[in-house]
């Protein structure tokens, strides 16, 4: 994941794009909002406009470098496309995100789509729950 990926996407290799890609690679949080990216860049002394962050993230998504998720909360979160597809589990208390992939579910989805005459292009599976942290448990 380097500047060549930006170039291959038909985009100029600019300072904001380089820094945003670096941040997505090095951030301790895999799943970040545009606002998160903006603020983390500021913390790093990079004064990149919020509009640019939104623009670049959308371009990276189109280029297949980044995936956008619509978790609950009214704002999108983004993550760098490492390896392959996976689904998500989100703690409704602390917001912790776990990733998983289940071949059985993936297979059934394709079958179900087909049986309804749909050509599946994407899917979104999010499990909401209480994570194992005692502070997040129900009782």
């Amino acid at each position: 994941m380097d500047n060549q990926d930006i170039r291959k996407a038909g985009l100029k290799v600019t300072h904001p794009r380089i820094k945003i890609l670096e941040l997505l690679e090095n951030s301790s949080q895999r799943h970040v909002s545009a606002e998160d990216v903006y603020k983390m860049l500021l913390d790093n002394g990079e004064e990149i406009g919020l509009a640019t962050v939104y623009r670049v993230l959308t371009q990276f998504e189109t280029a297949g470098l980044v995936t956008r998720h619509n978790f609950e909360g009214g704002h999108a979160v983004f993550e760098l496309d490492r390896g392959g597809h996976h689904d998500h589990m989100v703690c409704v208390v602390c917001g912790k995100v776990e990733e998983f992939i289940d071949p059985t579910i993936e297979k059934r989805q394709r079958e179900i789509a087909k049986s309804h005459g749909f050509e599946m292009v994407d899917h979104s599976l999010i499990i909401y729950g209480h994570c194992s942290n005692p502070k997040c448990s129900v009782g």
Copy 2:
């Protein structure tokens, strides 16, 4: 699904609530946005404020009368809770929504949540694709 359901939710039986519930029952579209509801009510000659529509839909959701979905598109859609849980398939071209339920997937989700130490409280599964309408097919 009648006024008693509103009362049982601890809410006063008001004109806006009655009309919104009626509309959700009788609308030809099962999945509607707040804006949709607002406009359809206007078409019926009911001048109910948009803020009230949002408030009531949220209250109905809390009361378990209505379910909210975060499909792509930046706005939530709501549907009356008839019968039980189901998942969704959305055509990325025409927006058509199909519903389905798959016991295998439901079961695997519970197992996966448990294996990650999560207490599942909800989940969202949306398949995006091209529906069988020729206008929506890839070619």
